[in-house]
Symmetry: D2
């Protein structure tokens, strides 16, 4: 059973190699009769596309989404929404060099061993280019959630060793897109930008952490015991290229607290129930409790660097390898809309699943 579909009810199926004719997908299970603003979907894609600023790759991909079905006069039909993004930059570049080696910490080796074949042009299916398809589906989900009052906001909270030291509640999240790093702490954003440029100058790369905050999630989403909301968020995030870790609410820091510090006391104020703290990250027993859902996603440094590295050839002989071309020294800024997208798909899918659990 191959793994190119995501979600149970709101379900994305994805296809495409980075240098094939096109990438694209099908969203099945999108509720009918919903107004969709297609320009805003394109705008989300533009947040992910390469070449946005000096700190990202200078490759040009127009990343223009074309919808083929499922929408009539701006309204969803309840039928599958098919869409494609043509691969503009498909020129006959010379990929013979990467075809001959397994790049360190890339997927060349594992794809070759699993399938007995791989598309060596720019990473093929293992390229992060496929995440553009997720952004399209996620942007559809986000619009539907927005109509329900749910708001998803992600930002870069760490790049390399530069980390924001404020909680999301202390930041003005409307500033996320005010700088190229997508970090709402302007001073830290500057430091991050400097760090990224320094890494690029060294032919090196950086990783980092994205924080995601989801407000106004209805109480009751999540399907214990296995399909807890946090479990499905963890899977969603860990399915993104380069992600190495996920933590909800207090996360790993919470593991060294005592129960008396960590427990979130319930309190009723003027008829409204809330918790005094939110170490739970908005999810208890795998089910949303109405508080903000917040979690962190850790990305490793980009595997492609402009330094010579030791590796093996396709013939399995030891060789030296040095990457060429235009690459992101840090994917974090462009990964923000991908985290947004995956979060939106999980929340909407669970909202629809929850509807199916009641008569």
């Amino acid at each position: 059973m191959a793994g190119n579909s995501f979600g149970q009810i709101f379900r994305l199926s994805s296809f495409g190699e980075s240098h094939g004719k096109a990438i694209g997908g099908i969203v099945d299970g999108c509720p009918a009769n919903i107004n969709l603003d297609l320009d805003r979907i394109q705008a989300e894609l533009d947040r992910r596309k390469p070449g946005q600023s000096a700190i990202s790759t200078q490759r040009k991909e127009t990343d223009k989404v074309e919808f083929l079905s499922g929408i009539l006069d701006g309204k969803t039909l309840g039928t599958p929404i098919g869409f494609v993004l043509k691969n503009a930059d498909q020129r006959s570049k010379d990929y013979s060099k990467i075809a001959q080696v397994y790049r360190p910490s890339h997927a060349d080796y594992t794809y070759e061993k699993k399938y007995g074949i791989r598309d060596p042009r720019g990473g093929g299916r293992s390229s992060a280019r496929e995440t553009a398809v997720r952004v399209v589906a996620g942007a559809i989900a986000a619009q539907i959630l927005e109509q329900k009052g749910v708001k998803i906001q992600s930002y870069v909270t760490q790049v390399g060793k530069v980390a924001v030291d404020k909680s999301y509640e202390e930041l003005n999240l409307s500033l996320i897109d005010s700088n190229v790093v997508r970090c709402p702490d302007e001073a830290k954003a500057k430091e991050m930008e400097t760090a990224i440029l320094a890494a690029r100058k060294d032919g090196d790369s950086l990783g980092g952490i994205i924080q995601c905050v989801i407000k106004n999630v209805p109480i009751g989403l999540g399907e214990p015991v296995f399909d807890r909301l946090n479990a499905d968020l963890a899977k969603a995030m860990c399915s993104i290229n380069a992600v190495k870790g996920f933590e909800l609410g207090s996360g790993f820091a919470g593991t060294s607290m005592r129960g008396s510090e960590h427990n979130d006391a319930f309190v009723q104020e003027e008829g409204e129930i809330k918790t005094l703290s939110n170490h739970s990250g908005g999810i208890q027993g795998g089910i949303s409790n109405g508080e903000d859902i917040h979690f962190k996603v850790g990305f490793k440094p980009v595997a492609t660097i402009m330094k010579e590295q030791q590796t093996i050839s396709k013939e399995e002989e030891n060789v030296a390898f040095k990457a060429e071309g235009r690459h992101d020294p840090c994917v974090l800024p462009r990964a923000v809309p991908i985290v947004d997208a995956m979060a939106a798909m999980v929340i909407l899918d669970h909202l629809l699943r929850d509807q199916a659990s009641r008569l």
Copy 2:
């Protein structure tokens, strides 16, 4: 779509409330004609059961598994394996007190709001008692994997603020069960035990971290782009009660490294391919690369504490609440076999999925 099944091909479906008649499950998709040692399955359950030592709850649950189908004369039939564990400790205790409040950082509130009803007896479905079912299915999977040479070992690497400072490669993993904490670093194990007893004395609780190591996983397991092996491991772990975080290989620490430090160079030595480091945690591009798979799972401190806490009643009025009875001050030692079990199910499921991807 409810969430009580796990896995695509090797698939566990689970049922049971903590104080109903029984808990149990069905394993469908278990390969036929496999010899199973049922005593070893029971032995894994015994690693999870309460009352094993002075540091765990003194509740007695016999946790005896009874197999009802799918196995004939010790061999699997290829048909579903049904099994039950009777709830021995089902006496008519008085649960009226917890029935009237929503305990802080428990699932009482979210279950009530989601379903409009809940079983208040000992947590019902949200109780960690359901994990006994996972241990049964996982122990079946582990035996099959073992016949393929795959070995899964988990241990406690942190309790509260006491953390092992050696990597798994520096430890003797055969010592995991040599102490009640299930930490193979004997000195740290002693410290952890002391910390747990101190927390209990205070009526408080601790969290911690479990490290899991999986050796000899065949190259090629994992189904990009969504069902990456790490994504499914993340989901599996985050579906366990009290888990707040998952990190693969270098994890969150890796996010502040540079690419040149983090990349795992491939090298061929006498015909064998390996990587010089293993920050990837044995998975690249979502697919196992033959190196050890290693990851960490973070658990929050136990929500049940013997101190008075603020909370709300079922009538949504502010009340004080103090738990009673026998509870674990720290679940980590008993969670080790659960992590083992979920890991085994994920690896076997992907091994079977991989088989289906080739002709």
Copy 3:
């Protein structure tokens, strides 16, 4: 991917060999807070059980269902409903004879070849005994549907060459259980009974046809293009032991009509929309249209007969074989509640799926 689960949202997972310790199942996705009358579930099982009358097998199976979870004080909890039926008649009978041959038109040969192993005791997993599990899950579904006004009624419309020549609308369906054949046409029921007794006397067996009628299905159930309501009904019915055919509405007879005869004209009468005929069988474009859903299910004659037959041994040598023991000469009367059950599961599953398709 093994095949022992049925349904997407209201989902039954089933286990059990005919002569193992027990058969049973888990219903996941049952809506919460529904009142269930457990006696009526048992009553449905009693309609299926052996030994009800002179025309069925004289084997005694008590077929007593025991619920283990998911129900509290007669109300569903929204959690999985686990249940078992112990195999009472599990005595150490001598099965060495059937273990040594592949009975004609049974599943002995195909199970052995598929799995490399089989449980030879009374058919094992391939025995129709597993359908008792379906009846339990179906009876739960039927009660929920009943609360929505949906009514499912099946009856025997043909046994061997004796066929009812009236449509279901010309019959009084409240008479279905008034005779042992479960045919509401009393005269035909008598003829059928006579035919069954004659076949038994000859050591032979009969097949036949069951008609199912479902009234008051809400408009809009069914998920094109693949999960049409009729496609899922077809699968449900063809998954029952001995079923060889399914036809909706006009069925095969309709294939020789002209469009002008076959089309169901819509008409509005006093604000209510209906069709003047119902060749469509209540489903158009794969979606229920509010008319009665009606279909037929064809069963082959029972494979077990008391006559000598040619077959092969396990060593694949030609041998003669003659069955012994107590067997139904015709399964149709006992299959009625199985058809009811499968129909109920399909309709409820689609009702819940439909709920998930809307916001």
Copy 4:
């Protein structure tokens, strides 16, 4: 959970309205490293396309498939195969007339009621145009099966009241495409053609029956108890537009036979096992037994006729309606490749599922 995907391992997801920009699909789970002849896939589409002969619609659709991913230099990559078929005949025709009525025995009414919206242009998603997508996926599956020796052949065995009276074994199946009806009995094919032309002249339409024969299916395919091979074939066939019935092997005729006539005796001849008759249709206990799989699929007469019919308007008032334009008076000849395609997908999916059931 919407229903636009088919198969568990070899899995087609489909999209597209008949008069949107394009229809298309994604095949996930196609084994890697398989040589595909893309021209033969197009050739199968050509068998389905309109305008092939005087007896089918004169609409022109080029139905040219374009592959976007998953194939490199004629070999499958193991990644999803995305493809599109542009809707050539998308001119701005006037659909206001059908937008205003619910055509009898069409899906207009049920789609409108289910989704609250529908694409009125030529049937939208409910149009049989979507079956072109199935033919593409099925032709891929058929090529893979062919490499395993499996051969699928379907033909028209009845049109209106004209029925072939020979079994498939008495016919020369290489003649299927030798006439426009796709009936290998030349004399009957002529009669059928005459009947179709007569129906067209009357502005009326015909239904009929397709017979499918599958040779050399490996023993052991099918996953009891629910995903029996015959159950999945039944679902596959009943998911095709206009299909009203499915019968395996002896089918409904077999229901009036006695067990002693119906049972298929096993016999061993020179080390090879076979059955003396094949009433089982090649499937026993839901699992293939190595004999030919054969079944029949019944199609209702086409709903679109050129005669005035009674129906209701969108405003739910009684109106008269008469269709216009170019339509097939009988879909059977063009449905042959669709039956082939669905059969191929089921068999390949089960072949891959079976692989996953063994270690």
